[in-house]
Amino acid sequence: SGASASLNEAMAVLQHHDAVSGTSKQHVANDYARQLAEGWGPCEVLLSNALARLSGSKKDFTFCRELNISLCPFTQGAHSFEVTVYNPLGRKVERMVRLPVSKEAFLVKGPDGAVVPNNVVPNPSSEQLELLFPATVPALGFSVYSVSRVSPRRPTSLRRRPRAQEAE
């Protein structure tokens, strides 16, 4: 079962001015980080339960805590996966989703099954590839996008030329 009480408590502790401004001693900062991390675990379960109920389907939801540094073993290893984008704002938003991946070609489909344009771009800081696609999310709601790997299209320059041309 999920719970938000421990994260609530950790957030309450972190209202202390030392945590807000970063003026705590190092071992206290470490403890703040520990409390936040321990509080977030049961919250992930809570969010998974909520999403299962709202979507009508129970899944093994995965949270990538290191997306900010372009690390997500799940998206980097999976052949296909779903991305649920939740919008906490009271109006529709459009957002570019970035996910670290290890391959270069993907097929992304939106909530209505339509193909969504996507690109794979290099991230120079982490030397990773990142999948990029635009997501539209309703107010206080979520959209589910499906992503699957496809074979990369052959670049035009690598296509075989007719023999006569090769000889030239």
Binding site: D60, T75, E82, V83, L89, R95, L99, V121, P124
Partner: protein, 281 residues
């Protein structure tokens, strides 16, 4: 020597072919053009001097010299253009790099910086800032927010409720920035949205700077009892600044709506595909 430009339907950013640094931003929708340079600088942290024994530390920002040193006068830029995004990758040093990014359909220029571990082998504490220098006559004024709610006017070397004797020309003009800082002249406004609380200022007219990382070697004697040092090899941070250029009358709507989308950003949850039907029981 080719001029680098990234552009979408609303914005254009031009880069200096000699330095690889940003040199101009154009708002194509509103017909605005502004010369803006952006680079990373570092302040040498004070360990105390003849005027005061106060060192720069966790509580106190006190640079040794008032002029920061530029991290690199030029970068080797790398351009990436796809149908959804156009990016310029800049490498300032072994420990500071940046991607300047323009997404299709977006009205802001994104700066994703990666800084650290800050080297301190030379025994100099360092405080790293990202600085935007624009051709705007701002008359000593700049604006910072208070928890994303009230925007407060800041005047250089001035406090509204007492006569200030300014003894720290840089640190004495630094203010908390929780979500945004901006400068303006009679025609246009340049706004920078942050993804976290940072210290910021406008030390010169037309300039905005935000402190992105710091690593210090001496305790400032204000209670923490430790220098703002890190375990070897040190920490690195990555964050984003969003730059908006607007006419005065459209600026507030632009930065307020965009800041909402940053503070309450969409959250991602991943799953491996088909699940089993959910039953409340």
């Amino acid at each position: 020597s080719l001029e680098l430009t990234i552009q979408n339907e609303y914005l254009q950013a031009r880069f200096d072919p000699d330095t690889g640094l940003l040199m101009e931003v154009n708002n194509l929708e509103e017909g605005l053009q502004l010369a803006v340079r952006q680079a990373f600088f570092w302040y040498n942290a004070s360990m105390g001097d003849g005027l005061s024994s106060q060192a720069s530390g966790a509580y106190i920002f006190r640079p040794y010299r008032q002029e920061p040193m530029i991290l690199s006068r030029w970068v080797q830029p790398r351009l990436v253009k796809t149908s959804l995004v156009q990016e310029v990758h800049q490498n300032f040093s072994a420990w500071c790099s940046q991607v300047i990014r323009l997404y299709r359909g977006r009205r802001q220029l994104e700066f994703e910086w990666t800084v650290g571990p800050i080297p301190v082998g030379d025994n100099w504490g360092k405080e790293i800032v990202s600085r935007f220098d624009a051709a705007l006559d701002t008359k000593g004024l700049f604006y910072t927010d208070s928890n994303g709610r009230e925007i407060l006017e800041r005047r250089r070397d001035y406090r509204p409720t007492w006569k200030l004797n300014q003894t720290e020309p840089v640190a004495g003009n630094y203010y908390p920035v929780n979500s945004r800082i901006y400068i303006k002249d009679s025609e246009m406004q340049l706004t920078v949205l942050t993804d976290r609380s940072q210290g910021g200022s406008s030390i010169r007219d037309g300039s905005i700077e935000l402190m992105v990382h710091r690593r210090l070697l001496k305790d400032d004697g204000r209670g923490v009892g430790e220098p703002l040092q890190e375990d070897l090899p040190g920490r690195w941070v990555r964050g984003r600044h969003l730059l908006l250029l607007n006419k005065l009358k459209t600026a507030a709507a632009a930065h307020r709506l965009q800041a909402q989308e940053e503070v309450l950003a969409p959250q991602l949850v991943l799953a491996s595909g088909d699940g089993t039907p959910y039953r409340p029981s």
